[in-house]
Amino acid sequence: MNAPASPRQLGAEIFQVTTGSSEPIYRQLIEQLRRLQAGGQIAEGDAMPSVRDVASELGVNPMTVSKAYSMLEAEGLLVRRRGLGMAVAAQASGNSDIESRLELLRPSLERIALEASQLELDAKSVITLLTSILKGK
């Protein structure tokens, strides 16, 4: 639906952090960027906000932001451009297929699977419930 636009400069507001969760802040940042990419809200070549901007805007330690960026780079989601900072990597736009979006649900589904087994529920009844929830009933 979105035509290939010219690369944008992304702002620090693409991220937000929640304190008091069991998820450390660097993981929250990584997860949010994966979601933006999978959902097509960011595209190849978009320039990431600088570590300093994100740290200052969110009021978090810059080391935390650069740790998230480095891990996203290692994952192939971001590329480091010499002298220009980080940008969204090439594969990003082609990667938002069903499998990769589905993969984002895995952690939540694994939690459900665990709770189901603790409650001694069989797979069939859990799936029935999930299906009816998905259908909005």
Binding site: T19, G20, S22, P24, S56, G59, N61, P62, M63, S117
Partner: protein, 289 residues
């Protein structure tokens, strides 16, 4: 623990008691240059006492405390100039105006960032010409932070720095800290009971409990690896965590422990063990129970 010659903070065997009540017991602590350490402990655990002993503001009963390799009791002028301290409450210089107080401190330090003083006084809406004892507690605290940041310390020690600030004031303060870390690699030690602030800025956390630093670790690693395990007694005995943080009384069937990512995955698929990932607040409560 490996002794580092020029560690900003190095404490060995520190003991301190008040009228027979032992507060710090043979405490060891070390802080690496450039780190931001949040010191956590319950009320009365001795966080302020530890900070005051560390700075040489209190006599100690035993052990050694040193800053940048120099005994705290005999710091050189050079080392003193590198250090800034924001006490929990300051009742000093009450009869001066902010302008007079800052001018006094400016003389004491070789370095002084007047532009920073001016911009923070304005940004934080502080009056230069009001007598300090007419300021609110929150204003005094902000003034004290400005005084500490003005001489661009290499080691900044803050005791509950934001306890009197509202959320917006706290966020302003965190931004200032962050800027100073980005620009100058300042080593920062702060005690706080406001965990959300600590989560935002700390790289490492240290827990003070029953007179010791019972645990110190990178905040991210601790959050990633620490879980509360609930299981039957024999099952708990068989687990092989990388580190046990707290073991609760036998029969209680709970353990606060750290496991590798692979171990955690294996544990999560077991039905005879319950694994809970914890927030910093939960970990704090379990650690200092």
């Amino acid at each position: 623990m490996q002794a580092q010659l020029n560690a900003p903070v190095q404490i060995q065997g520190l003991s301190k008691s008040f009228s027979g009540q032992s507060v710090l017991k043979n405490l060891d602590w070390q802080i690496a240059p450039g780190s931001i350490v949040g010191l956590l402990g319950r009320n009365g655990a001795g966080k302020s006492t530890l900070i005051e002993c560390l700075l040489g503001l209190r006599d100690i009963d035993g052990g050694t405390t040193s800053l940048y390799g120099e005994n705290t009791a005999q710091l050189s002028a050079d080392t003193k100039a590198k250090i800034a301290y924001v006490p929990q409450r300051s009742d000093l210089f009450e009869w001066l105006t902010a302008r007079q107080m800052l001018a006094y401190f400016q003389q004491l330090y070789p370095r002084w960032n007047e532009a920073k003083v001016q911009s923070l006084m304005q940004a934080w809406d502080l009056p230069f010409d009001k007598v300090i004892n007419k300021l609110s507690i929150g204003q005094k605290q902000r003034l004290s932070i400005i005084r500490a940041l003005a001489h661009e310390p290499e080691l900044l020690i803050l005791d509950e720095p934001v306890s009197s600030l509202d959320p917006a004031g706290r966020r302003d303060f965190l931004r200032e800290l962050i800027d100073s870390v980005i620009d100058k690699q300042t080593t920062i030690v702060f005690s706080t009971h406001i965990l959300s602030d600590l989560e935002r800025v700390a790289m490492d956390v240290a827990f003070l409990h029953e007179g010791h630093i019972v645990h110190q670790q990178s905040l991210d690693d601790m959050m990633d690896n620490t879980v509360r395990v609930s299981a039957g007694y024999t099952v708990l005995q068989q687990l092989q965590p990388q580190k046990i943080l707290r073991r609760f009384a036998q029969g209680d069937g709970r353990l606060l422990a750290q496991f590798s990512a692979e171990q955690l995955q294996a544990l999560q698929s077991r039905t005879d063990v319950r694994i809970d990932k914890l927030s910093l607040e939960d970990i704090f409560i379990e650690m200092t129970r």
